[in-house]
Symmetry: C2
């Protein structure tokens, strides 16, 4: 394989690995059933998204909304794709969530991380370079031995500025019908895949 | 179950989870074969242990000796026991090794940790309270929601001083024929088990 291979791959989590919108809708629906409340939960979520706008609803907002829930589920390809990648690479989330939230979430969703790179380990949130470079430092690796994987072009742009390898795959339904961007790769990322299983395929595992 | 149940269980690693002496002997034996060197590697290891003495050969010495090897294996009950415990508890190593060493070691030995509590996360080595209490803080738990599991009475004594629950199981062959202590529980630890599988059994998983 001519392509430069990473030693570790870190994943943006909200949207990229877990389907926060779909999970919250399912959770609210189940809650509504136990309390006898019939509501259009998808419409509520979409209103929330539309009201805040994609630019306004940051990853930190999502962390806050979900804090204490720990019940988000992976996309269908997340667990099988990560399980394949784990055979050859160190894998972990690199998220603005903290270790505690990301650990409980991984247990619920069955995400087979090797290590949890919560923002509290670095004392910084993405896009601060201390997060991307902190993973490399913690794992005794050079920046280009770490690959950032995300469904968000912006996250990858910041990772590339720090010298990390980059992998993109789209999550066109992350925000439901109000999604306005990140339908496709906007730059020449090192890998452009369909999803996490395809990422594993392209990395030869 | 009347016993107080933890949310997270952290494990001393060198000796408690991985068999450093047996693994190093096997590794040196394999190395010797490829180089045509026939030597009494167990005797060499035992001489090293005897020379340094159990008190002299600290966990940090072992980390240093093993750094870069990443090839230590679990005791026979480690992977099956941890796999059972992982179903109900957050599990991780709490070791004086750093995140990098412990992560690569876990991949080699197949240890299914949820989170790696390396000493670099706390900027302290055991027995400093910052390590035991650091786990509780990082996981948003009270100290008595965390259980320290170790084959070393001393480690458990320090954990108990910080308010953690304690679990002991012996590793009578950790140091080979020169082992002088830790054959049995020396205090009324919250759980005294035969090994990690028995710990899972006693915790009802």
């Amino acid at each position: 394989m001519a392509r430069k291979q990473p030693v570790a791959i870190v994943f943006d989590t909200f949207g990229t690995v877990v389907d926060w919108r779909g999970s919250l809708i399912a959770d609210l629906t189940a809650f509504g059933k136990t309390r006898g409340i019939a509501a259009d939960w998808p419409a509520l979520m979409d209103k929330l998204v539309a009201e805040f706008g994609i630019k306004g609803l940051t990853e930190q907002d999502l962390v806050h909304i979900n804090l204490g829930w720990h019940r988000l589920n992976g996309w269908p390809d997340s667990v099988p794709g990560l399980t394949r990648l784990k055979k050859q690479f160190v894998i972990g989330p690199l998220s603005n969530g903290n270790v505690s939230l990301l650990t409980y979430m991984a247990k619920h969703a069955g995400l087979p991380w090797d290590m949890i790179f919560g923002s509290d380990l670095f004392g910084h949130f993405k896009p601060d370079p201390e997060t991307y470079l902190g993973v490399a430092k913690m794992m005794d690796l050079a920046p280009d031995q770490v690959m950032m994987a995300a469904a968000h072009n912006g996250d990858l742009g910041n990772a590339r500025k720090c010298g990390l390898l980059t992998a993109f795959f789209p999550r066109p339904n992350e925000y439901g019908p109000h999604q306005k961007r990140d339908y496709s790769a906007e730059r020449d990322w090192d890998i452009v895949a369909k999803d996490i299983e395809d990422l594993a395929e392209q990395l030869g595992v």
